[in-house]
């Protein structure tokens, strides 16, 4: 203080004071500046991204899907506010169902087509990252109402990354396409929901499986298929049953008392489970084990079910191997690999029906001893 009052030394002190003052000011400025949060200028989103229906329209890979959208009157809604998630099947997917041109939709009942097309659309935005990792059968309500089943393989037991996505057993071949009002995923096949139809009704409606149906009826396995329990049916068509020596005529001649029905026709029924073929693939990725082994109901014979991507097309298929017992040395009755992907995964109210390309059991193999 003494020095401060000394006029002689006043100037340097004053200068130091000024400097301090300036520094204090600068410090304050820094504080204020530090608190200021400018709005970051983010690049404006591309306003030219098209809404979902226009996007589908402008992609020639999805011409048939667009025709279906038009036919069912979804185009306007899909160009609306959203958000939507569209699972769009490719033209190839429709081709596999025998739909080759836009006029083919004219032959269909518009209401049922609308239900099925609406089942491919979710009234929400769902990107792959929003789906639970390694989630199995995660259900999402569709525009039609009923839920679809989503399974996603995201990582394997060793922690490695997997990236496969299946909807109702159908592989998503291109994920997360951003459109103006949502997301689009490209599907390898058309979803096949049957809503309130049971597996029994489904089989009854398909003339291709009439021998199988007749056999089920003959061995008292038919009525259960209308009940509420769950079934996975590996349905052999008439041609497939012919391979194992079963035709309509031979069925008429068959004496039921001599044969084990739970083997002859029960072999095609998996009780209390609903498996999409893709489930096997997903579990082989996330759990290293996609197989499921089970005894046939009321029989000693043992079935091995396994699915996955089959060489050389790497499309989903499955195999069934029927043995006389559980061990590896037991006799293999038959082993069938079924690869008609587009005809599998028919989702019914009480289970799933898959197409089987060849029969499993000959009548001789099911004889009672």
């Amino acid at each position: 203080m003494k020095k401060l009052n000394n006029v002689k030394h006043n100037k340097p002190v004053l200068q130091m004071g000024k400097m301090l003052f300036a520094m204090a000011m600068a410090l304050q400025l820094l504080f204020v500046a530090g608190c200021k949060h400018d709005d970051l200028s983010v690049a404006l989103p591309n306003e030219n991204i098209r809404p979902a229906a226009d996007f589908v329209k402008n992609n020639y890979e999805m011409r048939l899907f667009y025709a279906a959208l038009q036919k069912t009157g979804y185009t306007e809604q899909l160009n609306g506010a959203g958000p939507f998630t569209v699972f769009a099947p490719t033209d190839e997917a429709f081709n596999r169902l025998g739909i080759y041109s836009t006029t083919d939709f004219d032959k269909m009942n518009v209401d049922s087509l609308k239900k099925i097309i609406g089942y491919h659309i979710l009234p929400r935005k769902l990107m792959v990252n929003d789906m639970p990792s390694n989630g199995i059968d995660v259900r999402y309500a569709t525009l039609t109402g009923p839920e679809l089943y989503l399974s996603r393989a995201a990582f394997n037991p060793n922690g490695g990354v997997e990236n496969e996505l299946y909807i109702d057993g159908v592989e998503v071949i291109r994920k997360d396409v951003v459109v103006a009002n949502g997301i689009l995923h490209l599907m390898d096949n058309v979803l096949k929901p049957n809503f309130n139809k049971t597996v029994q009704q489904w089989l009854a409606e398909h003339a291709d499986y009439s021998v199988f149906v007749k056999g089920l009826k003959k061995f008292n396995l038919w009525d259960q298929l209308a009940t509420g329990t769950t079934f996975t049916i590996f349905a052999p068509n008439n041609k497939a049953l012919e391979d194992v020596g079963i035709t309509e005529a031979s069925l008429n001649a068959l004496e039921t008392g001599k044969y084990i029905g739970d083997r002859l026709f029960g072999a095609y029924i998996l009780y209390d489970r609903h498996f999409f073929i893709s489930d096997s693939q997903v579990f082989s990725l996330i759990n290293n084990n996609g197989a499921y082994n089970y005894f046939l109901k009321n029989d000693t014979h043992y079935m091995n079910f396994g699915g996955g991507k089959l060489y050389p097309e790497f499309k989903l298929g499955y195999s069934l191997t029927l043995r006389s017992g559980t061990t590896i040395s037991d006799i293999i009755l038959n082993s069938v690999t079924s690869n008609l992907t587009a005809k599998n995964d028919n989702l019914c109210s009480n289970g799933i029906v898959h197409h089987l390309i060849s029969g499993l059991v000959t009548p001789e193999q099911a004889l009672k001893k």
């Binding site: 489970r273 489930d279 579990f283």
Partner: protein, 407 residues
């Protein structure tokens, strides 16, 4: 005149300084609300409903819960809030460590126990035992709910309404102030799939336990009918080795102490006097909450231990009464023994398998070897609980407060 000017400058400067200080003080102010629970009880919760994701079990409900204590329900019986929420309660880990150390290393929200990763008030040091793995909860009667929740990262109360209604357990517990409890969510019957709770009032903090002995007690909290059930109904987990199939309802436990946990062989040298030593009898019990008696072994049993650290490890063999290591009829690597013989090795961090033939599940060493004071590592005696639940075996370790490391 000049003086006046100086005075004026001084004043301005001072006022500026004052303003700066005020600014600093103000910006440094944070309002901290400390929570406090009067008369707490100490609670640790384990979800013993385990699962393995397989094709055959894909339709089973995943036992992934949100625990709600004193929930508030709306008119439809849907919880809207709760006094204490233990969300993302996953199946328990094989090892429940003395400190909630999984907080530091985990990036997932899934909680292998409560409190675990939850940021809540935890227990104090009671009689030397660190209760930081126990949460403080209000004592007295409380309503507790375990609600199924989807396995994702969305907090329970932000889930869609229809996902909040699936309640597994809704019951009332009565906790006494300042007591230590462990609560287990269990499957009580393997055939009927009946589940329930088991609340155990722990006593370790009241016992006069020596700090040169390691204590352990055993429980079999398996579901009734598990070991009898067909193999195809049980989850396969090769890491659980002989435990996969479960063990019989009454078993004798034998202890072997091995000299060196760096030698990964169950035929390695054991400590004299500790090879297949009878330790305890364990019976299946999911109904009563009695604490099993603690049995002990000295931590300095080995001659190679130097009073600071020892590399001893433990093996527990569970045999059906009448059988022991001397008349064991099974091959040493036999894992499928009809529930007559199961075993577990406790060494290192519980992740290493034996190199030779062996049928044991693996768990961490009961002894805690950790840097404390100038010693790295220093071996500490602990109090342990080994619980067998269906095809799995779990270890819970409680440790006394120890001196921090000096580097």
């Amino acid at each position: 005149m000049k003086n006046e000017r100086i005075l004026k400058t001084e004043l301005t400067r001072l006022s500026w300084l004052f303003a700066t200080c005020l600014l600093l003080l103000n910006s440094g102010c944070v309002k901290v609300e400390y929570s406090k629970i009067d008369d707490p009880a100490y609670l640790r919760v384990f979800n013993n409903l385990n699962y393995v994701q397989t094709l055959g079990s894909k339709d089973n409900k995943v036992p992934f819960f949100c625990m709600l204590i004193n929930p508030v329900l709306d008119g439809n019986g849907m919880p809207t809030s709760a006094e204490i929420v233990g969300d993302f309660l996953d199946q328990r880990d094989a090892y429940a460590p003395p400190y909630p150390s999984h907080i530091g290393t985990s990036t997932s929200v899934n909680n292998p126990e409560y409190p675990g990763k939850e940021n809540v008030l935890v227990g104090p040091i009671l009689n030397g035992f660190d209760l930081s793995s126990w949460a403080q909860v209000p004592s007295g009667k409380m309503r507790i709910m375990f609600a199924y929740r989807p396995k994702n990262t969305v907090p329970f109360f932000q889930l869609e309404n229809q996902q909040k209604k699936d309640i597994l357990i809704d019951t009332v517990l009565n906790l006494t102030s300042k007591e230590v409890y462990t609560l287990h969510v269990l499957q009580k019957d393997f055939v009927t799939k009946r589940t329930g709770l088991l609340l155990r009032q722990e006593v370790f903090q009241k016992l006069p336990l020596s700090d040169s002995l390691t204590y352990v007690n055993f429980y079999n909290m398996s579901a009734k009918g598990y070991w009898e059930a067909d193999k195809s109904l049980k989850a396969e987990d090769y890491l659980m080795a002989s435990f996969q199939g479960g063990m019989k309802d009454e078993m004798n436990v034998f202890l072997s102490l091995y000299e060196d946990q760096s030698i990964l062989n169950a035929k390695a040298a054991t400590i004299p006097g500790f090879k297949g030593k009878y330790l305890a009898n364990v019976k299946l019990n999911t109904a009563t909450s009695d604490v099993s008696p603690y049995v002990s072994f000295p931590i300095w049993a080995s001659n190679t231990g130097n009073g600071i650290t020892t590399s001893m490890w433990q093996r527990f063999d569970f045999f059906v009464p009448g059988m022991d290591i001397s008349n064991n009829p099974f091959y040493e690597a036999s894992t499928d023994n009809g529930g007559n013989w199961v075993s577990v090795n406790c060494l290192q961090n519980g992740k290493v398998r034996m190199t030779g033939n062996d049928n044991a599940a693996i768990l961490p060493n009961l002894l805690v070897n950790i840097h404390s004071g100038v010693n790295n590592p220093k071996t500490f005696a602990t109090v342990n609980t080994i619980e067998v639940v269906n095809g799995r075996v779990y270890l819970t370790t409680v440790q006394r407060k120890y001196a921090p490391p000096i580097y």
